[in-house]
């Protein structure tokens, strides 16, 4: 399996039609995980034994960089106002352009697997992503299970690529 993870992905536009109504301005509740409190996201990831580090994306919004197996990945914060009050998260891993990592392969993944979306970007990078709304916050237990879905589906993706790109 030769897919190589890209270090930095370009942040995509991902707002809703009425962004003014979407930011989360309510303080994060006690013991909850919220996109408007980035530390709660990082702490929940560390609690799930992920090597997570809070950083900033190119527009100054929060992001989390995670190193580890099978792939390093990023978590982007969306729907922020002045880099605060963010309303949603996007988990993303981006692979360098590769023969065989085609739109047809992305559709095959999407037809047979839950949670993670596969797509080929204009620059040829193959991307796996998962978006989640965070307004109002979620419990640590629920967020831990979301992390578990992301991690276990990344593991499935590694197996899928190994099988599908064999010999390519």
């Amino acid at each position: 399996m030769r897919l190589i993870v890209m270090s930095v992905a370009a942040v995509m536009l991902g707002g809703r039609a009425l962004p003014a109504a979407a930011q989360d301005r309510v303080p994060c509740g006690k013991d909850l995980v919220c996109a408007n409190a980035p530390d709660t996201v990082v702490q929940a990831m560390i609690a799930a034994r992920l090597q997570a580090k809070l950083a900033k994306d190119e527009s100054g919004d929060p992001m989390v960089e995670v190193t580890g197996e099978p792939y390093r990945f990023d978590v982007y914060f969306y729907g922020c106002e002045k880099s605060r009050n963010c309303d949603s998260l996007r988990f993303e891993v981006s692979f360098a352009r590769e023969d065989g990592a085609t739109m047809a392969l992305a559709n095959k993944w999407n037809a047979g697997h839950r949670f993670l979306t596969a797509a080929v970007k204009d620059n040829g990078n193959f991307v796996l992503s998962y978006d989640i709304g965070m307004i109002g916050g979620t419990t640590k237990r629920n967020f831990a299970d979301t992390l578990d879905w992301w991690s276990s589906m990344l593991g499935e993706a590694a197996d899928f690529f190994a099988k599908e790109l064999k010999g390519k």
Partner: protein
């Protein structure tokens, strides 16, 4: 896209100042359990959507029939047991085959849009999906936000498909 009913929820959440004092029904900050299909049906109704709890004929698994933007969708439940409820759910909708549907078209959507994933199946029909975990609780306002993403991205999809159909030269 229309989000009138959900705007009310978002605004109510925004002006809520005493979450600790209020856990009664209607409080957007209260924690809700999505692992029980019957509970999810009630919460959908509270968020302004119709919700009919049904069972699949072949498997007996529960699902909810609802609609957004005037178009039907279902919520499917996975890994269900009487003791623990279900561990995840999936928003699902389906559109019958059109000549302009193609894998490059689904990729254009999936590469540019968030939340809603679209797929061409082996029969050429279009399926759309969004998955979430139902283990542990979430705030009611978070559940309302999730439905709002499904509703607003499904609305976006209709606009996208109309543009794709036009670009394909009016192939119906």
């Amino acid at each position: 896209m229309m989000r009138s009913s959900m705007m009310a929820v978002a605004l109510a959440a925004a002006i809520w100042t005493v979450p600790a004092a209020a856990q009664q029904k209607g409080d957007p900050a209260r924690m809700v359990d999505l692992s029980r299909p019957e509970n999810v049906a009630k919460l959908l109704q509270e968020a302004g959507y119709k919700a009919e709890l049904k069972k699949h004929d072949n498997t007996g698994d529960p699902f909810i029939a609802s609609a957004a933007n005037g178009s039907p969708f279902t919520i499917e439940f996975y890994d269900c047991s009487p003791a623990k409820g279900c561990t995840s759910l999936q928003f699902f909708s389906w559109y019958s085959k059109k000549p302009y549907y193609s894998i490059p078209m689904t990729n254009r959507w999936n590469a540019q849009k968030r939340f809603l994933r679209i797929v061409i199946d082996k029969d050429g029909d279009l399926s759309t999906w969004m998955d979430i975990s139902t283990i542990g609780k979430v705030s009611f306002s978070n559940f309302a936000d999730t439905i709002d993403w499904w509703q607003s991205m499904s609305g976006d999809l209709f606009t996208f498909l109309a543009e794709e159909e036009k670009a394909a030269g009016g192939k119906k």
